[in-house]
Structure formats: structure tokens, C-alpha cells
């Protein structure tokens, strides 16, 4: 096959069985790759009610037709499983160099089922697949695990995706990490891996990828790259990456500060991307085949933290361990970035549970005695550090926090639930939706919970009403503080986000920089695979994936009322800064979105007629069953 590697690898850890299944052309075309492949299998093979921590849950690694080729910025892989954090659909996506190696080894998807009797890791070298003893790796951090595997097999070019102690210990928001710091961070994919007694996938491939129409493929790759390199935001992205967002969001009054109590942080300059660049960055780093090289390597050269070095941080970690917790020390952020990357914690959920605890402490809901004698005053670095250690080992108050913010609030009780900032059990990212209305809608409707990456509607930050008028006929779409038309915007960008995920292109470039659109997606798919893909069909493909995930969640009992935001964002206006006076007007945006997407606005369940239109006949029948049950009750 062109573009694709041509094989799906199934590994049953319970029976120690390995099966190679040829990739079916129709399946490939219907779901394209990456998140698409994984979501399709999730619906088909993970029945409702499956315990995410049980051997019945699947853990999937999906890549797409562009991985391993020279198409710019197509380095991503998606890890998918039912989430132990949220109890619903879960996936997470990372760049680096793991995805191309998986293709070179010959695989488009790896589906892992069952549970190993004792800690193991997978060594995949082309056709040779071994389940090896991981006794010497269990307990090691993520960086050490990379080092030992490569040394054991005397091959520095082995690509590793592994978990740290957090994943082994069942912390509900554990990550899967590749290349030390390229992280599939959300929804507890590392937790599922740990529950399967699987420490790592180590992969090395000697194969190659051919494209169907090299001439056209090159034209498209060059056109894509040209758009990237001439983009007005390129230079800043190529230097600061996502860390430029600290000062940007602070200026907009939406930098989460002291757990979303404020949107302006008085020490934003000190923890900004610009400060990081000036004081600690030494080199740009890139994912596979990416000209943006938005990642950075940092070194602290002097002082008590001298010698601290690592890659990143990305904005979420940077904000999470600074303004979100009231900390103004950038070196502390860099240290915690290394800690979460080594131990294997999702920095977003980690900073949220700590922020939640700090706000509860401030409000008197939690006392010193409740939290093991710690002083949880905003910005107390020693306390934050101690909590993080406790979370990883699930000791003391860390055991309460290790379940994620929704469950933590249930355990704490006393009315603390209103301070647990999540949707569907997944913690909110570092972007206050009160000043990003379309982002607010995105958090509410996203299939994995409160996350921006399902639609990332950055167009609302453009302040370009003419372009909004021209594209959608609604000028307000270009204004972040307006809610009008945001259902239209999210309906559009949700499809682009899905296209980036299935073509495994980085969202920072494909979506956030506005480089990928439906036409380019269809053309590059055709040139790469030789399978004809029209704009209409790739649009239907994106919609198919959005809907199958919603169907999965509906089957688990998720309804309209779950598409919401924490009350603070709906009711309490921000007090200071450029977003003062604003809340999220969620309801009208939701209704607009449901109508365009083909979702029943009463139940939140996809309309069976829409599903049939997308070729999802079985899910359509399933949803009819659910709708009947809903109307009867």
C-alpha cells in the first residue's frame, strides 16, 4: 500500500498472543488513520460498562498515512483507551519520533488487550514482536526507562513510549511519554498502560514508506511548508512556541490565576515565555520533519537549581505551575516540568488538583490537618512539591488527589465540588473561557472532556471581522468576547481539528496557524495513498469520527447535561483586566452547535438520520435504542 504501512498489530498480553492483520483498504479510507482508526475500534470493541482498569479495556496506538514521510509537521500518534479518569472515551496525542518508527516497523495501528501477569514491555523490531520482562524497568522514571531500553538492546535509535511511576501506581492521570518529553498527557492513557502491567513499547523499524504520486505529494508538501514559513506568526512560534501564551493571555485578562479566581497575574512577566527565552533557553528542538521547531531545550546555569535541564515546558505546564497556583518562580516551573515528565503525570490535571486544594484551603474547606500538615497558601513551593511527590506514590493526601479533580472533590465534600474545574471529569486547560467564548463551547462538547484540542477555535482571536463576514457571514465570530456565531465556528474548526488528528499533523500548525483546510487534506490523502478522496468525503470522514466518539459516550450514559462548564465560568464574571465583566453564554452556543452537527438538542445524542448519512448504520440503531430509553424514562 502507498502511505500506509499495511498492517495492524494486535497483542493480547493475557494470552501472550501476537496477531498481524492486513490493513483493510475500506477501513483505511473510512477512518484515514490515527485518532480515526482508534475511535472506530473503540466503538466496535469496547462495550458499554467496560471497567477502564480491567484487562477488557483496549489500549491503542494509531498513526496515519503521512507519518514517516517528509510531509511537514506530520509526526503525531494517538493513544486511545477508555479513560480511567473520566470513565468515558479517552485519547491523547503526542509528537516526537515514535510515530514514524512505528510506520517503518510496518504498523498503522497497535491494539493491546488483556493484562500481563507481571510487568513487561514490548520490543517490536519489524516483524519480530517480543513481550519481555520489565522487572528491571518497573519503578524507573521515564527518562531512565528510555536510557535502559536503548542500552539493553545497544540501539540508540529505538523509539520508546513508556509510563513512569505514576502510571505504575494507578494515578488516574498518568501519561505515556516518548522521546523523554513528547507526551500523550491527557485522560490517563498511562494509567491504562500501567493497569495492563505494560511499562513500555520499544520500537525500531527498517522499512520505508512510499507515496502514490510523489510529484503531487511534493507540490503539496512544499505548498504547506511555504504557508508555514511565511505565516506572520512563524518567527515567534519558532522561538517561543506555546510559551508565548503566558504574556498573550495575561494581556487578554484570561491567564488562569490562583485557580481561575483572576485572569491577570501580577508576576506574568517573570514566568513568561520571553523570560524563559532570555534566561534559560539554549536551543530549539523539533518533532520529526517539522520546520517550526517550537520546542526548546533549557539549562539553569547558576544558583541552587544549577544543572536543571530539559525540554519544554509547553504553555500548559508553564501556566499550570506558575499563575494557576500563584507561583512567580520560573525555575520552580522548570523543575516541576522535569518532575511531571519523569514521573509521568499530566501537568494539567496535576496543577488543577493542587489548585483546587489551595482554593479549598483558602476558603477553609480544607484545613492543615486535612492535608497532612501542609500550608497550602498560594505559591507555597515546598507544599506544591510535597503534594506532587505524594500524588505519584499515592501517599497521605496525595491518595485523594491521585483520582483527578472530580473524584477528589467528591472525597473532600463540604460543597467543594463547585471548585473542581472539569467537564466530564477532565480538568480544564489553562485558558479562561470567560474571555474565549468559543473555547468555552469546545470544552463543553469535547468527547474526552474539558479540552481545547477537539476544536481549538483560535479564529475568535483574530479580530478580523471582514474575514469572518466573508467566511461565515457573521462578523462577531472574530471577537473572542462575543458568543454569536461561535457554534458555527466550532462546528468548522472541530472538523479541521479532526483532520489534523487523522492525518497526524500537529494542531499548532494545521489548526492554530490555520494551514490545513478540507481541500488540502483531501488532496494530500489522495496523493499519498492513491485512494481517491474528495473534499466531500473527507468532510464526512471528520464528521464520522466526531460522531462515533459522541456515540461511544452516549452509550456510556453521557447526555446533554454533561455538555457544560463549571459554574464559576457561567456565573461569576472576571473582575479585572481585558475580560472583566464576562461569563460564558454557553446555552445559545450549544444550541447553534447541536443543530449544525446533527445532535438532538434535547438529549445530546447524535441524530440517527445524521449517523446513517455518514455510513454509521449500527451506531444509528444503537442511538435509536438510547433515544427510546430516554423518552420512556
Amino acid at each position: 500500500m502507498f502511505g500506509y504501512a499495511g498492517t495492524i498489530l494486535r497483542i493480547d498480553l493475557t494470552r501472550e498472543k501476537v496477531i498481524r492483520v492486513p490493513l483493510d483498504k475500506e477501513f483505511a479510507r473510512k477512518w484515514v488513520g490515527g485518532r480515526g482508526f482508534n475511535s472506530a475500534i473503540m466503538y466496535r470493541e469496547v462495550p458499554p460498562g467496560t471497567d477502564p482498569m480491567s484487562p477488557d479495556n483496549l489500549l491503542m496506538f494509531g498513526v496515519g498515512p503521512l507519518n514517516g514521510t517528509a510531509f511537514p509537521c506530520a509526526s503525531r500518534f494517538t493513544v486511545t483507551a477508555k479513560s480511567p479518569l473520566t470513565g468515558i472515551f479517552g485519547d491523547s496525542n503526542a509528537g516526537g519520533h515514535f510515530a514514524p518508527e512505528m510506520k517503518y516497523a510496518g504498523y498503522d495501528q497497535i491494539i493491546i488487550s488483556g493484562k500481563a501477569p507481571k510487568p513487561c514491555y514490548l520490543l517490536i523490531q519489524d516483524e519480530k514482536v517480543q513481550i519481555l520482562d520489565a522487572a528491571h524497568l518497573w519503578g524507573q522514571d521515564i527518562w531512565e526507562t528510555h536510557r535502559v531500553i536503548r542500552e539493553d538492546h545497544n540501539d540508540q535509535r529505538i523509539q520508546v513510549a513508556c509510563i513512569g511511576p505514576a502510571g505504575e501506581n494507578g494515578v488516574k492521570y498518568a501519561i505515556v511519554a516518548a522521546n523523554l518529553t513528547r507526551v500523550a498527557g491527557r485522560a490517563g492513557m498511562g494509567t491504562v498502560m500501567g493497569a495492563k502491567n505494560l511499562k513500555a513499547l520499544a520500537i525500531r523499524g527498517s522499512g520505508t514508506i512510499s507515496v502514490a504520486d510523489p510529484r503531487r505529494f511534493h507540490e503539496l508538501a512544499e505548498a504547506f511548508k511555504h504557508k508555514v514559513l511565511t505565516h506572520p506568526g512563524y518567527e515567534r512560534r519558532a522561538q517561543l512556541g506555546t510559551t508565548q501564551l503566558v504574556s498573550a493571555l495575561n494581556n487578554l485578562g484570561i491567564l488562569p490565576t490562583r485557580h481561575f479566581q483572576e485572569g491577570v497575574f501580577e508576576f506574568a512577566d517573570a514566568v513568561s515565555g520571553e523570560a524563559l527565552q532570555r534566561l534559560y533557553n539554549v536551543k530549539q528542538k523539533a518533532c520529526f520533519a517539522c520546520p517550526v521547531h517550537c520546542s526548546r531545550y533549557y539549562v539553569i546555569r547558576e544558583g541552587s537549581n544549577a544543572g536543571t535541564r530539559g525540554e519544554g515546558p509547553e504553555y500548559e505546564t508553564q501556566c499550570g505551575f506558575s499563575s494557576r497556583l500563584g507561583n512567580s518562580d520560573l525555575q520552580f516551573v522548570l523543575k516541576q516540568n522535569n518532575f511531571v515528565n519523569k514521573m509521568g503525570l499530566d501537568s494539567i490535571e496535576t496543577s488543577e488538583v493542587i489548585g483546587f486544594a489551595m482554593e479549598c484551603y483558602e476558603k477553609g474547606i480544607l484545613t492543615k490537618e486535612d492535608v497532612g500538615g501542609l500550608d497550602l497558601t498560594w505559591g507555597n513551593k515546598e507544599a506544591i512539591e510535597t503534594l506532587m511527590n505524594w500524588i505519584v506514590t499515592r501517599s497521605g493526601f496525595g491518595e485523594t488527589l491521585a483520582h483527578g479533580v472530580r473524584r477528589t472533590a467528591k472525597l473532600v465534600g463540604k460543597g467543594s465540588e463547585k471548585y473542581a474545574f472539569h467537564t466530564k471529569g477532565l480538568a480544564l486547560i489553562c485558558g479562561d473561557p470567560r474571555g474565549l467564548k468559543a473555547f468555552g463551547l469546545t470544552y463543553a462538547i469535547a468527547s474526552r472532556g474539558a479540552d481545547h484540542l477537539r476544536a481549538e477555535p483560535v479564529f475568535e482571536l483574530t479580530n478580523d471581522p471582514e474575514l469572518a463576514e466573508q467566511r461565515w457571514g457573521i462578523r462577531e465570530i472574530a471577537d473572542r468576547l462575543e458568543f454569536k456565531g461561535k457554534g458555527v465556528l466550532v462546528n468548522y474548526t472541530e472538523e479541521i481539528a479532526t483532520l489534523t488528528d487523522i492525518l497526524t499533523i500537529c494542531k499548532n500548525i494545521g489548526l492554530s496557524m490555520g494551514i490545513l483546510e478540507h481541500k488540502m487534506a483531501a488532496e494530500v490523502y489522495t496523493a499519498t495513498t492513491g485512494l481517491n478522496m474528495t473534499i466531500e468525503e473527507i468532510t464526512r470522514t471528520a464528521q464520522r469520527i466526531i460522531h462515533i466518539e459522541r456515540c461511544f459516550n452516549a452509550r456510556e450514559g453521557i447526555r446533554r447535561t454533561d455538555d457544560t462548564l463549571p459554574a464559576r465560568f457561567l456565573k461569576e464574571p472576571l473582575q479585572k483586566g481585558a475580560t472583566a465583566g464576562h461569563v460564558v453564554e454557553l446555552e445559545p452556543m450549544l444550541i447553534e452547535y447541536y443543530q449544525l452537527r446533527g445532535i438532538d438538542p434535547e438529549t445530546g445524542i447524535p441524530a440517527p438520520s445524521k449517523l446513517r448519512e455518514l455510513g454509521l448504520n449500527e451506531p444509528a440503531r444503537d442511538m435509536e435504542g438510547l433515544s427510546t430509553a430516554v423518552s420512556k424514562s
Partner: protein
């Protein structure tokens, strides 16, 4: 003669050079068939592309038992004869920098041929981490910069502002 020169501070580790190399030689993509190999020292944050440096005294060429290796008179590249190479790997053993390896399926060695004088890897490098230049030109540039730096304090003592001369 031009050589591929390397600036480690600029290599982001994206491996576009590997992809360009594999495509230029075989029309498909894959690190295993690339003649330039990026070694990622991940725990140090450094990425190091490894490739043939066209040594003046090339240990690989005389080591070949089948005389499959020659030196291109125009470009100075190490060339190998597809027909004569028996894939014994003796040249690999003799290369002190690890710039050669065996083709994963063909049983022949792979070594940089400078693409006949227009290296595809250099073309693909966006940051200038690898560039194709004459070594003499490079030395001249470096010496000139060094001379300016050394002259700096003397010229200042003369009361001449050297800021405009600084790199």
C-alpha cells in the same frame, strides 16, 4: 572542494535530512536507507547528524576487499560500485565515525555520495545546521572573525570604535 559542514547549535533534530536523503536515492522515505543519520542525545538535548566527511586519508577505500569503493574526482565523495560491493562490512568497521551502514534489504553498504555535488539533505535543512561549503572558505571566514576579535582591544586602545566591525 565543498563539504557538508555542521553547526550543532542549529540542529533541531527534525531529521528532514534523513527523509531527503532516502527520497533522493530511492524514491521512498525511511531512516534506515538514509546515508545521513541523526543521533539524538536526548538526555543532553543535542542532536548530531552523522555523515561521511570525505577524509583525506580514507580508511574505508583501501579496506574494501573487492575494490568497490572509489573517490569521485570532481566532488570528492566516496562512491561504491553496486555490482562490486559484496556487503562484507569491512569498510563499516574501518570508518572511524560510523558514517557507513548496510542497506537493510539489499546487502550493500550505504555511504554519502554528496548527491553528485548537490546534497539533498542540505537542501532540506531549514535551520542551516548542515550546509555545503568549501572548507577553505569556512576557514577563511573563521580566521577573519578571529582576527577581528583579537584586534578589538588594540583598536579600542587607539580610540577606534570597533562595534561596526563586530560580528
Amino acid at each position: 572542494m565543498k563539504k557538508i559542514l555542521l553547526d550543532l547549535s542549529k540542529c533541531t533534530g527534525c531529521r528532514s535530512c534523513e527523509l531527503a536523503c532516502s527520497f533522493a536515492h530511492e524514491g521512498r522515505y525511511g531512516g534506515s536507507i538514509s546515508r545521513i543519520q541523526v543521533m539524538k542525545l536526548e538526555d543532553l538535548g543535542v542532536d548530531v547528524p552523522i555523515f561521511c566527511r570525505q577524509c583525506e586519508k580514507r580508511p574505508c577505500v583501501p579496506s574494501c576487499p573487492n575494490s568497490a569503493l572509489t573517490i569521485d574526482e570532481t566532488t570528492g565523495a566516496t562512491l561504491f560500485s553496486w555490482g562490486a560491493c559484496i556487503g562484507c562490512g569491512i569498510c563499516i568497521e574501518n570508518c572511524p565515525i560510523g558514517a557507513m551502514h548496510l542497506h537493510p534489504t539489499e546487502g550493500k553498504i550505504l555511504v554519502c555520495d554528496l548527491c553528485g555535488g548537490n546534497p539533498a539533505c542540505v537542501e532540506a535543512c531549514d535551520t542551516g545546521a548542515i550546509r555545503f561549503e568549501s572548507l577553505n572558505g569556512y576557514i577563511n571566514q573563521i580566521r577573519h572573525n578571529t582576527a577581528l576579535n583579537l584586534a578589538h582591544s588594540l583598536l579600542n586602545a587607539w580610540g577606534i570604535d570597533t562595534d561596526q566591525n563586530e560580528e
